[in-house]
Symmetry: C2
Subunit: 391 residues, 2 copies
């Protein structure tokens, strides 16, 4: 059969067609009234997408760049920070904090699992300046209890800041940024926003702005205060990735349409969509006898599935690629070969979701595993039907 390029990776994700054409057609200079209008509209829309009244910054970088900014802007060398890590991206927080001279207190959970709130409570002493965590750990498909963690951080009555890498969490997970008191939340363009990589963004609380008045770690390209100052004039401090801004504007329009004209409702619809796709996928793979890697707290951003006993997940990934031109993600780092990951971020519909499960049946069958065709699909359909009825 004809092959279409199919991305089921947790970023980049399938592109929104209207964003692709907006990007291609865009020829505006960034120091013009027209661009300033687009810039300001996108920033305002992004506040609704994120669900915050805090300042939103959008930078030309991948997500790691803004993660770096959340370390260099909020700390001084020697500051004690608490890093929660349960996967590759948690380790990135650890590496960043160490690189820029923080005294790092670590809470580690095994890959695929999440943290004990009691352990966090015990280590959350008043001298902790910042807590760094993921909303969803992309490398394992686990969801962390951001609300519970935020309650501990805020409850302490201290001025400890909470920074959440929600690069795959935003648009897939309900996060009450202002209500829970998340001081910096970070996202990326190539995730639930359905556009190519190249933009990273964050929302910054008043508490975090105050912290920046005293922190000493040098920063320049990722200097949040300089970006805030420029944004007040409808500009970025340095040349913005203009074509991706145009794409982002189109994506936000699409999300607003998902909410029948209301962007906040659109965000909720996008999250519901990811949650339903994830639930269908979990039901499907389990109906085939496969095991989830993060069964206790699965994220709706991405589902990590353990390869069956005796099968290298790389062969499954390869099977998808060769048979269906479909890209699913392998495990990362130490998990490579052990699991494969299917994303639900952004632009996926019912046909994509059941189609991918049918493809999985085909791939496993071709590898000699006994599969009754339709098993995973049927389980997913039942989830869908139940969900449609309950609405």
């Amino acid at each position: 059969m004809l092959l279409k390029n199919r991305l089921f990776t947790p970023g980049p994700t399938p592109l929104l067609p209207s964003a692709q054409t907006a990007m291609a057609a865009f020829t505006m200079h960034h120091r013009t009234a027209e661009f300033r209008a687009l810039f300001s509209r996108v920033i305002a829309d992004m506040k609704e997408f994120i669900g915050t009244n805090n300042d939103v910054l959008i930078l030309a970088a991948s997500g790691t760049g803004v993660m770096e900014g959340a370390v260099t802007n909020l700390t001084s060398p020697g500051d004690k920070v608490l890093v929660l890590t349960a996967g590759k991206f948690g380790e990135r927080w650890r590496d960043l904090a160490k690189t820029f001279g923080c005294a790092v207190e670590l809470i580690s959970a095994p890959y695929g699992q999440t943290f004990s709130l009691d352990e966090i409570r015990a280590k959350l002493t008043p001298d902790v300046r910042v807590v760094y965590v993921q909303a969803t750990e992309t490398s394992t498909g686990a969801r962390h209890d951001v609300q519970g963690i935020a309650k501990l951080v805020r409850g302490a009555g201290s001025d400890t800041l909470l920074v959440v890498d929600a690069i795959t969490g935003l648009g897939t997970t309900h996060l009450d940024v202002d209500g829970w008191g998340i001081d910096v939340i970070i996202g990326g363009s190539q995730k639930a926003l359905m556009i190519p990589p190249g933009l990273a963004y964050c929302a910054v609380s008043e508490r975090a702005w105050q912290r920046m008045e005293t922190t000493k770690t040098p920063r320049y390209y990722f200097d949040f205060r300089r970006e805030r100052k420029a944004a007040a004039k409808g500009e970025s401090a340095y040349t913005p990735a203009t074509s991706l801004f145009a794409a982002l504007g189109a994506a936000l329009d699409f999300i607003r349409q998902m909410g029948a004209g209301d962007l906040v409702d659109g965000r909720k619809a996008l999250i519901d969509n990811a949650e339903l796709a994830a639930e269908m996928t979990r039901a499907g793979v389990q109906a085939l006898g496969l095991k989830l890697f993060a069964p206790t707290a699965p994220a709706s951003a991405v589902t990590a599935v353990l390869a069956p006993e005796g099968i290298d997940s790389s062969a499954i990934v390869k099977g998808f690629r060769e048979k269906f031109s479909a890209v699913v993600a392998n495990g990362q780092g130490e998990m490579k070969g052990q699991l494969f990951r299917i994303a639900h971020l952004g632009y996926y519909d019912y046909l994509d979701t059941v189609g991918l499960l049918a493809a999985l049946e085909q791939v496993l069958s071709a590898m000699g595993r006994s599969v009754e065709f339709g098993t995973a699909v049927r389980a997913a359909q039942q989830v869908y039907a139940r969900n449609a009825t309950s609405r």
Copy 2:
């Protein structure tokens, strides 16, 4: 008449149509064999475009990001560096070096002018670890004598490094990177490469790699060594701006076509094109009695023109915008209102060049200045005819 959006700004510049469509159509994941092939081909082509055998890195950022990397990777706090500044981007080198704790020795020339080699020779003591300069100062339209400066730096026999911001210099100016001994040369996607902003790149010498083994300033997102290691596997350390990579591939194909299948010849043709457009423009504006802002060493990247006595250049910029939907750049910083700038970077042809001059005549005439229509155009045509004959 119908209005087309016309960019005559020194970045973003007019987009190459084949790059726009490549960008819109691109849906490849970045951790695949297909993308690694594209990545490696683009890196190899970029070496020919830059004209170097040194390693080339391409990052998701605007040019300032890689400028920051050229400071954080090559210096330790307290290192003495020599910054040559004659405009806004020279001042950026100064600010970056100070931000990251260098002991900055400064040589300043007035806006619109360039440096005395004697002064550089005098200040180039053996303890200077790095010299930072622009190839062309975008804010003033002045060209700096990179060859002469390189000769001084290399002639010293010391291990002083030379870093050149050629963000508007590459593709508009002949620069013999390896022959002259430029240790780090920096460019950006939205300049002569004819694609949108969002990628910055650099070529790094063996001397510079060696320096990085001992420098201590923290870096993470802009860690050049980490990028080099990833590039050896056909990857970037963090998620690359994939759609812009696709655009860049198309742009390099176009430049190769300009050289009848040879990318090095294509680069030369692109530079010749900018030089001819710049010479036509200089002749045109001078025929109207206007004065160049950088007459002694004008860059071919951008021509800065002083507004006539009694006229604010902002009114000229506005006239272009309103009458012809054409964006020319105002002066930056202290030069705002005093000059306007016309770019020649990348995708400009004969019709663009004479058209812009005819538009300038119309704009000045509408402002009440006595203009004999066709004066600037004729002067440009004569330059073109002379150039065509001499080939």
